[in-house]
């Protein structure tokens, strides 16, 4: 089996002491990020980009990229897990994808079974992580090879599909979501045009020649925007954490949660594959699905262990699944994967079909490290759960200014300019007001990353076809993508018009 050969190679990379250390640090930092109120996975990953860049600055490029992305991916799935700890112990989801976990998790905690709920979460996350990793191993190469067959028109339409998918599910109003997408695309065009060398929208300001820095905007919009919101709304997490108690689940607990975990993982994984369906949506869907399936529905919401196991498996499965379109097609389906993609691009590695050919070390190292990382999380989390429960009680007095200071450090250390600090502050304020009024932020960041590639493919395609725009409909692959994109936008709208409730992915 070819896939196993690659995986073995990847394991060789992932098990190098340095990468192992980075995976460990990433998982640990991620869990902390998930546990701490006020920073979610997106801002956690954005804030740790400079740390990763700093720690790998002395390594050769490819190695630095591998180590950094291993660390950042660790933060991503670590945060997914960490969020559930707060959901169970203080009834406050650490991030949106743990909202479902609060429903039954907190009830279990009140019944004195917090430890068991946490253990089931850890096991569910672990199983889902492993399942999505296996899926990644088998799907990655065939998908990447298939994607290589796309012409520029196909690639252009694929990116349009990615944008439409994320935007149509990104907020309450589709007009607002697309406004943000368009605005993000325009922001991505600030700077010197790489093809013609013309400066666009720079207003003769030399800081803008290289374009708006992705990291600055991501940290500003996600980390600072969130902090501003917390300060303004006085939205601090309160309440004592419930005592953890015994973490050893009974045989019955394990038996009750085995199938929900398996179903949740698979469902989550396949949903994660679809751009726009992030962890939040999948955890909701998995929860509803499990509730429908269950023989004792009335237990749900009152501390049913299935209600903890399934959504946790679902959201971790989805975050693993979301790596597939990112790595093989170069289409990030969620806000967090968009930030991961931005980080890869910062290291001069472009995710997409060529990744597996050009940088197999990075691609397979990352995939294998997800396996290793999931083991680590399991080993790390169960014994340390009481420590993490203490972290929840970090007073906001120190936490909030601390996050701001880390944001400033991160942006200044990487960009080295005060201009970028002001840009960060400005985008933080803008993000707060936009998000408050239901203008989603994730599409801006996604279009900022995809913008240059979209334009590049558009221009390549137009040169190839002598400016014949109808090629986008004549090329069969491109046509299929455009039709899917159109349906993606239209179907939820039609459902809304018919009075159905449409779940949206927030954050």
């Amino acid at each position: 089996m070819e896939a196993f050969q690659y995986l073995a190679q990847g394991l060789g990379v992932a098990l190098e002491p340095l990468n192992l250390l980075f995976a460990f640090f990433g998982c640990l930092a991620g869990t902390l990020v998930g546990v701490l109120p006020g920073i979610g996975p997106i801002s956690g990953v954005a804030l740790l980009i400079p740390v990763a860049a700093m720690a790998t600055s002395s390594l050769p490029v490819e190695q630095a990229a591998t180590a950094s992305i291993i660390l950042l991916a660790g933060v991503y799935y670590g945060a997914m897990y960490g969020g559930s700890t707060t959901a169970i112990l203080i009834n406050t989801p650490g991030e949106n994808s743990s909202v479902c976990t609060t429903l039954d998790g907190y009830q279990m905690a009140k019944q004195g079974r917090a430890g068991v709920a946490l253990a089931i979460c850890a096991i569910g996350s672990f199983v889902a992580g492993i399942i999505s990793c296996i899926g990644l191993v088998f799907l990655a190469v065939p998908l990447a090879e298939f994607a290589l067959k796309f012409g520029p028109a196909g690639q252009f339409s694929l990116m349009i599909l990615g944008l439409c998918a994320l935007s149509s599910l990104a907020g309450k109003s589709i007009i607002k979501a697309f406004m943000m997408t368009t605005f993000g695309l325009m922001l991505s065009m600030v700077g010197v045009d790489p093809i013609s060398g013309v400066a666009r929208m720079t207003f003769n300001y030399s800081e803008l020649y290289s374009g708006l820095e992705f990291l600055t905007l991501a940290v500003g919009m996600f980390a600072l925007g969130e902090v501003f919101k917390t300060i303004l709304t006085n939205d601090y997490v309160e309440g004592e954490a419930i005592k953890v108690g015994s973490i050893i689940p009974t045989k019955k607990d394990l038996k009750d949660s085995a199938m929900p975990i398996l179903r949740g993982s698979l469902l989550g994984f396949f949903q994660g594959l679809i751009p726009g369906c992030g962890a939040t949506l999948s955890s909701f869907m998995v929860y509803t699905f499990e509730k429908k399936l269950s023989k004792n529905k009335e237990n749900f919401g009152k501390g049913a262990i299935e209600g903890v196991a399934a959504p946790e498996a679902g959201n971790n499965g989805a975050s693993g699944g979301a790596m597939i379109p990112l790595l093989t097609l170069g289409i990030p389906g969620t806000g967090t994967t968009a930030v991961l993609m931005g980080a890869l691009i910062m290291f001069n590695i472009t995710p997409g079909p060529l990744l597996f050919q050009d940088h197999p070390q990075v691609a397979w190292g990352l995939i294998a490290s997800m396996l290793v990382g999931n083991f680590m999380l399991l080993v790390l989390n169960l014994p340390l759960v009481k420590v993490f429960a203490k972290v929840i009680e970090t007073p906001p007095k120190y936490l909030i200014p601390g996050i701001v200071a880390i944001s400033v450090f991160g942006v200044y250390a990487v960009q080295g300019s005060v201009f970028n600090l002001f840009l960060m502050i400005g985008s933080g304020i803008a993000a707060y007001y936009l998000a408050k009024n239901d203008y989603p932020i994730a599409p801006i960041v996604l279009s900022l990353i995809l913008g240059p590639m979209i334009e590049n493919n558009l221009r390549r395609a137009m040169n190839l076809y002598n400016g014949d725009y109808t090629m986008f409909v004549k090329d069969p692959i491109s046509l299929i993508f455009l039709i899917i994109a159109l349906l993606w936008v239209a179907v939820p709208q039609i459902m809304k018009l018919r009075g159905k409730k449409v779940l949206v992915e927030e954050g």
């Binding site: 406004m179 325009m186 501003f228 300060i231 007095k397 005060v418 502050i425 007001y433």
Partner: protein
């Protein structure tokens, strides 16, 4: 009170669209050999943004949803915001350690008064710790002490 943010935002984004559209027309470039140059996509996007903004404005005017009434902590936010701006201005002249220490101290005290010594110790440890790790160990560059 009606939610006015949507109206203002729509007007602002429409204005951005118009400004970009006009600005992009001023780019002079020979697009010899290529059918699509650096102007087309931004121009197209600005038109799309204008249309979307107008659509949003229309929905905003039609909607009668009242604004969310929230009590916001403007004072706290304002102090931290000003401190942050000063931090950005002073980071180069004062150096990383001093400016960070000051910002954190102000930040901690704004969030909650009291525990001065503890605040100062944490702020100093953070500023000094990051500087030491980044500059001495990782050999990065941060603005040094001014003296």
């Amino acid at each position: 009170m009606v939610n006015t943010f949507d109206r203002y935002a729509s007007v602002v984004f429409a204005a951005i669209g118009i400004a970009v559209f006009m600005y992009i027309q001023n780019i002079e470039i020979a697009t010899a050999g290529s059918t699509i140059g650096p102007k087309e996509l931004p121009a197209f996007l600005s038109v799309v943004l204008i249309i979307l903004s107008l659509a949003n404005l229309y929905t905003a005017i039609k909607s009668k949803k009242p604004a969310k009434q929230e009590k916001l902590e403007y004072k706290k936010f304002f102090i931290i915001f000003v401190a942050l701006v000063l931090y950005a201005i002073l980071i180069e002249p004062l150096g990383y350690v001093i400016s960070t220490f000051l910002f954190l101290l102000v930040g901690f005290q704004t969030m909650e008064k009291g525990e001065y010594l503890k605040s100062a110790l944490i702020a100093a440890a953070f500023a000094g710790g990051i500087y030491y790790l980044y500059v001495e160990i990782a050999l990065g560059v941060l603005p040094p002490l001014p003296f």
